[in-house]
């Protein structure tokens, strides 16, 4: 009984510490984000490279996934709408499902799989190789030079790719709405525009920004946990990616609660 209580207590303390450390690190990054002294030629160059690696290099894969997944999903959803006789709610269902929920979620999963793991490994390798000490010796703030551009890139990439995913899926929706409901381009656009809710779009935007922020911040934090031992790199990536997944679910649940209250 006492052992069980000790275990619960230890777990609670560890979880609380993780939350406290993550939010404290997030606060540092946010402060740096709004400090103009954090930006210089070197940080801008890193930011451009990071956006290229995350948003541009991944574009062919992302377009493929958007077309295949989006087309199939829209076909099924519109068929269900037709079968249930919910044609008058067509626009609302598409906007809520695609723009607010699906697009940010699919985008963040893809970026987390590709970029978060890379960031985590990159920072861990730099820690093991003592390259972070090199920056420190040359009086280069690792937060400004390494972490901030990666976090900003996360936010920008998730927002842009999520918007892109929405556009791709909504375009494939046009095809199925024409086939199933006989809607023209103009009618389809009108249905979507009249269903677009400013509040939902703001929530979706905030959700994308939060996703982008945490799926880059958490891997950085875990990368810094690596020791001088090479074997600490896979452990750091493993723990980081588990926490990234938990963070994604946590943010998704929070956003759903916000939308439904």
């Amino acid at each position: 009984m006492i052992n069980a209580i000790i275990r619960i207590g230890t777990t609670t303390i560890n979880v609380t510490k993780t939350f406290r450390d993550t939010f404290s690190f997030a606060f540092t990054i946010i402060l740096k984000m709004f400090n103009k002294n954090s930006y210089n030629s070197a940080t801008r160059q890193v930011l451009i490279h990071q956006i290229y690696f995350t948003s541009i290099q991944t574009l062919p894969l992302f377009i493929g996934i958007s077309i295949v997944f989006g087309t199939l999903l829209m076909g099924i959803v519109l068929q269900i709408i037709k079968n249930l006789g919910l044609a008058e709610h067509l626009g609302r269902i598409i906007m809520d499902l695609v723009v607010t929920e699906l697009a940010p979620f699919v985008t963040v999963l893809l970026i987390a799989l590709r970029s978060s793991s890379a960031i985590n490994a990159e920072i861990a390798v730099m820690k093991v190789n003592k390259e972070l000490n090199t920056l420190d010796k040359f009086n280069i703030d690792a937060v400004d030079y390494l972490f901030l551009p990666r976090v900003i890139n996360g936010v920008i990439s998730v927002v842009l790719l999520s918007a892109f995913f929405s556009i791709m899926v909504l375009t494939s929706g046009l095809l199925f709405s024409k086939l199933l409901f006989g809607l023209s381009l103009e009618s389809y656009s009108n249905v979507l525009l009249s269903s677009a809710n400013f509040y939902d779009i703001v929530i979706s935007l905030i959700k994308c920004c939060t996703f982008g922020f945490f799926i880059t911040l958490i891997p950085i934090r875990f990368g810094l946990h690596a020791t001088n031992d090479l074997t600490s790199i896979p452990i750091s990536v493993l723990n980081g990616m588990v926490d990234v997944f938990i963070a994604i679910i946590f943010i998704e649940v929070l956003s759903l609660i916000l939308i439904f209250i």
């Binding site: 070197a42 003592k130 390259e131 090199t134 040359f138 030079y145």
Partner: protein
């Protein structure tokens, strides 16, 4: 202090000027290429640390050090970076090529490496 392995040589060297003096990437690259030309090492500009030979790595690290304004270069056990070099001729020549870019240079090494240095003030 190792070179940063996921950056090209020119970025490693230019980083200090870009970060501390906000020098644009193009100007910083030009500056670095100018320095690399003194060593006839322009070809390593876009290479990364693991792809460098010991001598190329030594030169890159030296150039990175002199990017600091009014730099005092401290080389700690240089023969650990260039173990294939027998005496200080290569170190001396490397420093001579860029002697307009630093104020002082100090080399620290073990006593048993004394014979490898030809200079009088060892």
């Amino acid at each position: 202090m190792p070179l940063i392995s996921n950056l090209d040589v020119w970025v490693n060297i230019a980083l200090i000027k870009q970060y501390h003096e906000n020098l644009s990437a193009n100007k910083a690259q030009e500056l670095v290429l100018g320095y690399l030309t003194r060593y006839s090492l322009e070809n390593i500009s876009n290479k990364r640390n693991p792809a460098l030979t010991n001598r190329e790595r030594f030169c890159a690290m030296l150039l990175r050090a002199v990017m600091v304004r009014d730099s005092i270069v401290v080389i700690d056990r240089p023969f650990t970076i260039i173990p294939d070099v027998q005496d200080d001729r290569f170190i001396y020549d490397s420093l001579k090529s860029i002697d307009d870019s630093f104020k002082e240079c100090h080399i620290f090494d073990y006593l048993w490496s004394k014979e490898r240095y030809r200079t009088i003030d060892v």
